[in-house]
Amino acid sequence: MAAHRKLPYWADAILLPGLNLLAALFVSGLVIWALGESPLEVLSLLIDGAFGFEEGVGYTFYYATNFVFTGLAVSVAYHAGLFNIGGEGQAMLGGLGLTLAVFLVGDLSPVLAVFLAILGAAAFGGAWAFIPAYLQAKRGSHVVITTIMFNFIASALLAYLLVGPLQRPGGQMPESSDFPEGVSLMHLQDLFAMMGFTYESGPLNLSALIAVLCAVGVWFMLWRTRFGYELRVVGQNQNAARFAGISVTRMTVIAMMISGALAGMMGLNELLGEQLRLLGNFTLGYGFVGIAVAFMGRNHPVGIIIASIVFGALYQGGAEIGFEISTITKDAVVLIQGLVILFAGAMEHLFRDPVERAFRMVWERRAA
């Protein structure tokens, strides 16, 4: 059964994506070479910057945390057959919910504030996804358009609040006051210090663990619970869902709200973990990158975590290149990110055929 025999799991999950990543890096290398720099030097700076020292690793995982949240968000909606482009806006609203919770009770009890902030982020993010979801379910309004629109609306809303009611007194930029003392998610390096060893992990904070928990939760929900089963049925075949007694409307709304809640939690990392205030544009396109992350990760939580780390490494390593070589600007790094998404995310089959052929040859030789 050589042909029906599938590639071993490791080839599917690691070898093929790895080859694609190499192809992306190769093309990036050509661009760097064309810009007059040494591709190898840049590559080594990138890897070294992302994984070469404690703080670099910290930053890599810090950025990855954002992508895990937004990638999971995209993927939960996707499994329900919905394309949520609104991660950006949902993250903004999540940040707002978080901030409101912090200012509401921050002075009373930091612990309670952190707890409520997490809930606030999820609740506001979910609520922001509710209207597009409801309109899709009840009125057939295309969720792709409505979520794009809601991104713009969210940013305008945040801009209004941050130069109005929530503005930092005396501030010049759209940002809120600092969170009250002690209202933050602990940095992991402090946690490590408490446990008795030092590891400088930069801004990496507890939300990274929350993100991993969310990934596990999403995995469990999708493939181990009845709810997840029903969600996937709705995503694949709405007629079959009705046949099986599942309410498509209800599922659409719930799935989008879970998606929005996950996107909303991105603020935990950026705001409650690091910036300790609400910034007007803290989402910085992470919501959009989440789409690429989700698909690169084949819409599986493990894949999403891996893809997030790749992107985290690109963000962090890319910054390190910028520190050292001024001709490789942030733009060049953005280009490399685009190429990685293209090769590793969109060209799943690029090396599949050659690799399968190679495997078949090996199998046949063994069989003979």
Binding site: A156, A159, K330
Partner: protein, 309 residues
């Protein structure tokens, strides 16, 4: 080792045709004049502000200049951890013994270009175009308006903001559309404080045969004859000054405000717009400049001003 200062831009990036670019110009001048190199970095996100500061602080940079109000919190955090490293922050005020803060009185410069606009307008309607509606930009608007009203009492103002996302600073098409609309509604001069989007406003001035006022850097050359003047914010001087002072060992912490008196803000007059100015106008402007410097005219600021004190 060789003296190597570090220059950190804000998210707008090195060539924003605005104050980041001015900072770059100042650093280049320092490099040309002294032969000392410098390092610079363009961050992608707020998180990288602190990351960059830490990185260079840890390596004991000779001087770290951070450009932009966005750096406030990051500089505060890092500077307190590295008390023996010198920081200069532009557009923000940090009260620490190893930090020098430099801010500008944009409202004073705006006052002067507001006067120019009022003196030049024939329709008695002038416009303002901001990138985002944020306090920083409102200060430009406030000064502009006051300056114009100082000259003429009965002016009509039209005011627009481009957007609410970061792309508001990079949307010349929308800016140009808004400027066209203002011109069509009777404005004949528009002052835009919108970063690169402002180029769209200049374009619209050219296309409709009206006048625009540039911002931050001298933009008179962009469309000679159509740019009435530019409101200069001399971040280049600030950067050059800080670097030179540090090299000479004269760098000192504390807060410096650069207004008209210090030459930190101004309006641009050069060969591209000389024809648009009459001697009478120049005289009036110089008079006002003197009055502002002497304190006879107080240019108002918006709440949240950081240049006062």
């Amino acid at each position: 080792a060789d003296f190597t200062p570090v220059l950190l831009y804000d998210i707008g990036g090195k060539f924003d045709k605005s104050f980041n670019e001015a900072a770059y110009v100042g650093a280049e001048r320092f490099k040309d004049e002294t032969g000392h190199g410098y390092k610079d970095f363009e961050p992608n996100s707020e998180t990288q502000y602190e990351q960059a500061l830490r990185r260079f602080a840890r390596r004991k940079a000779d001087l770290i200049i951070a450009v932009g109000v966005g750096y406030s919190v990051a500089v505060k955090n890092v500077a307190s951890k590295y008390p023996d490293v010198k920081f200069t922050v532009i557009d923000a005020i940090i009260d620490l013994p190893n930090v020098q803060s430099i801010t500008f009185k944009e409202n004073e410069g705006s006052f002067l270009v507001g006067m120019v606009a009022a003196m030049k307008t024939e329709s008695n309607t002038i416009g303002f175009l901001g990138g985002m509606d944020i306090p920083l930009i409102r200060r430009f608007e406030r000064g502009y308006r006051q300056g114009a009203e100082y000259v003429k009492g009965d002016l009509t103002f039209i005011e627009n903001y481009v957007g609410t996302t970061p792309s508001a600073w990079n949307d010349p098409i929308k800016a140009s559309e808004m400027a066209r609309s203002q011109y069509a509604r009777g404005a004949d001069i528009i002052f835009s404080a919108a970063g690169p989007s402002g180029l769209g406003s200049i374009q619209a001035a050219k296309d409709t045969g009206n006048l625009a006022i540039g911002v931050d850097s001298n933009q008179n050359h962009v469309a000679p004859g159509f740019v009435l003047t530019s409101m200069l914010k001399r971040v280049d001087l600030a950067v050059y000054g800080a670097m030179s002072a540090a090299e000479a060992g004269e760098w000192a912490p504390g807060h410096t405000v650069m207004g008209l008196a210090e030459g930190g803000v101004d309006f641009a007059l050069d060969e591209h717009n000389a024809d648009l100015f009459t001697d009478e106008m120049k005289a009036k402007l110089e008079e006002a400049r003197a009055k502002i410097i002497s304190g006879e005219i107080v240019v108002a600021d918006v709440e949240g001003s950081n240049s006062g004190h």
